[in-house]
Symmetry: C2
């Protein structure tokens, strides 16, 4: 019987047709669960996200990533499952996921569940995770992108800049941010010519601002949720300060869009009164007016590679040595950045590595 469906060559054609006809007659549908139990594969992979489905899909980054993953999985006949935390626990979510392998998105290296996930026995691929051991890793050159963004602002003459990080937990001190934020922040500092870690930035939760003064450049560092609302909240925080910075670097486009929206509501002209740089280059980054200057990262390609590597890891079994891939980022200068009002560009924007679109 099973032969009729799965090994058509192993049976006489006439018999097979007879069986299939009878099956159709009876409306027989093989049980997908039983089939997969017997085959010992689910033909499903999970995308483990650090927040609820509701929150994580508020960032257009995610659908772009899913599109990339889908490119590979659709072709391979593998289904994609979203795996949000269960009751706040990622390891519980992982344990109860019905998958052959998992793509881990944006887990902090010090995440309490990470060890348990690593030992869960399922194949893993990390995305935007700083954790060198145990599984494949796909990442981007966060530092370079952030650095280009900072250098661009510096070249335009900005000396008072706010940096809006991604808040993992609402009240996490700036210096304890996980890999991705830390790397980008380091890149920003490098781009402004600041020595890493020498500034006086102090703890700062959601909405609280830390200030780092070094030479002529003043950095205010804050963190917020990745959403339009988060961006608006960040701007509100900045408005509460004694004066506004001349530029804002955010670590995601959707946050930047929120800052833009907040600025529009507050009557702040972008880029004349406030320059804004995003990160990701989601499609919506070029739907705004002015179009958003942002650090491009190949989101869909990341998804594709992650899916590809994961499927490879699943198929090759254990004989598979982990690989780390770092994809390039590049600043895309569009309309939301300009020299601050009344200031001359001290250094002309350099062309190297800076694309215009």
């Amino acid at each position: 019987m099973s032969f009729a469906f799965n090994k058509p060559d192993h049976l006489k054609a006439e018999t097979r047709d007879r069986i299939l006809a009878a099956a159709a007659e009876l409306g027989y549908r093989p049980s997908q669960i039983a089939r997969r139990l017997a085959r010992r594969r689910t033909d499903q992979i999970g995308l483990v996200v650090p927040q609820s489905t509701h929150d994580i899909f508020a960032n257009p980054f995610l659908p772009e990533l899913v599109r990339g993953i889908g490119d590979v999985c659709d072709a391979e006949g593998i289904a994609v499952v979203i795996v949000p935390p269960v009751g706040g626990s990622i390891s519980r979510a992982v344990d109860s996921a019905l998958v052959d392998g998992l793509i881990l998105l944006g887990l902090a290296p010090n995440h309490p569940d990470l060890d348990e996930v690593r030992n869960s026995g399922t194949c893993l691929v990390g995305l935007d995770i700083e954790d060198p051991t145990g599984f494949d890793l796909i990442g981007i050159d966060d530092g370079a992108g952030a650095s280009q963004a900072a250098a661009h602002l510096y070249a335009l003459g900005h000396r008072d800049v706010a940096v809006v990080l991604i808040a993992e937990h609402p009240d996490l001190p700036v210096d304890e941010h996980h890999g991705i934020s830390a790397r980008r922040l380091a890149g920003v500092r490098a781009g402004f010519g600041l020595a890493p870690g020498t500034d006086s930035s102090d703890a700062s939760g959601n909405g609280a601002a830390a200030t780092a003064a070094d030479g002529a450049v003043r950095l205010r560092i804050l963190s917020t949720q990745v959403s339009e609302e988060g961006g608006r909240a960040a701007l509100t925080t900045l408005l509460g300060d004694d004066h506004l910075p001349t530029a804002v670097i955010t670590m995601s486009d959707v946050t930047a869009i929120g800052v833009m929206a907040g600025a529009a509501d507050a009557g702040i002209a972008v880029p004349d009164d406030l320059s804004i740089v995003g990160f990701d280059d989601i499609p919506a980054a070029s739907w705004t007016t002015p179009r958003l200057t942002t650090v491009h990262q190949p989101i869909r390609e990341k998804g594709r590679r992650a899916a590809h590597r994961l499927i490879q890891a699943i198929r090759s079994g254990s004989e598979h040595r982990p690989v780390v891939e770092v994809l390039p980022t590049r600043l895309v200068v569009r309309g939301t950045t300009a020299s601050p009002r009344g200031a001359e560009a001290l250094v002309r924007p350099q062309g190297g590595g800076v694309a215009t679109a």
Copy 2:
């Protein structure tokens, strides 16, 4: 053993702890597939989409819908699987999906696979489907929304308007469009005071335009893919005409955004040279400048209700009579609509049912 995990009250606490400790010691992980086979439920539901993951997620409508579905499913511990067509066949995809139930999105009532899907035995809920028999249905008042949009344009003085429908297949005649497009088109005609079906619109595929003249209003009807690119393509088509309409109604925001982008590139001022109305009210609709006038529909709420109904249908078994829910739509007037250049608003925009945001 099984008791230790699933019926903690049925075992002495000490014994249960001993078992759990031993399990942890050995690194034992229960097989999710076996568990679900025995339980006869997968605790997964599928979202059946009419196009590839790549294409469907190009429309921000989808992530919004997923957010709504996730609201319910996260809370219920149910995983969401994306189910795109397999080799172009939706029924094949449905047959091989590992789920307890399916949310069917945007299937045409005459879709060749629909009957087979209906007989597949899995629980179903339809979303934006015009098919009264066999399963629950969640929809929106397409006609009213489209009608409001048209009435709004009419009131502003527009008499030459293009309507951009959703192309199911690239070369489908306008009059054979499926439920959603047909309903919205009928709404548009009603909003302009045109009798349904009396105009002279002829067949029109992707990019081809049909014209309906009735009284003073001229409607050009075309259809295109739902994506930014599709919107740009539609505008290109219109530019190929002898003259531009004064307004465009599109059946999705992402298409409207594409039209706006194309207009910007072509130096056409929105709304002065061209008014644009979208449909959906995705978040990005208020990220554009000017912000997009659009027909709001409660996307997330739709997702929530669909998920809720599906779970209900799964749990109640067969004793469940299908329900049809139609959620309201409303026009949200923002910045992309205005009176055509040189024309006076013949009728003042009516307030009833028209919200401003």
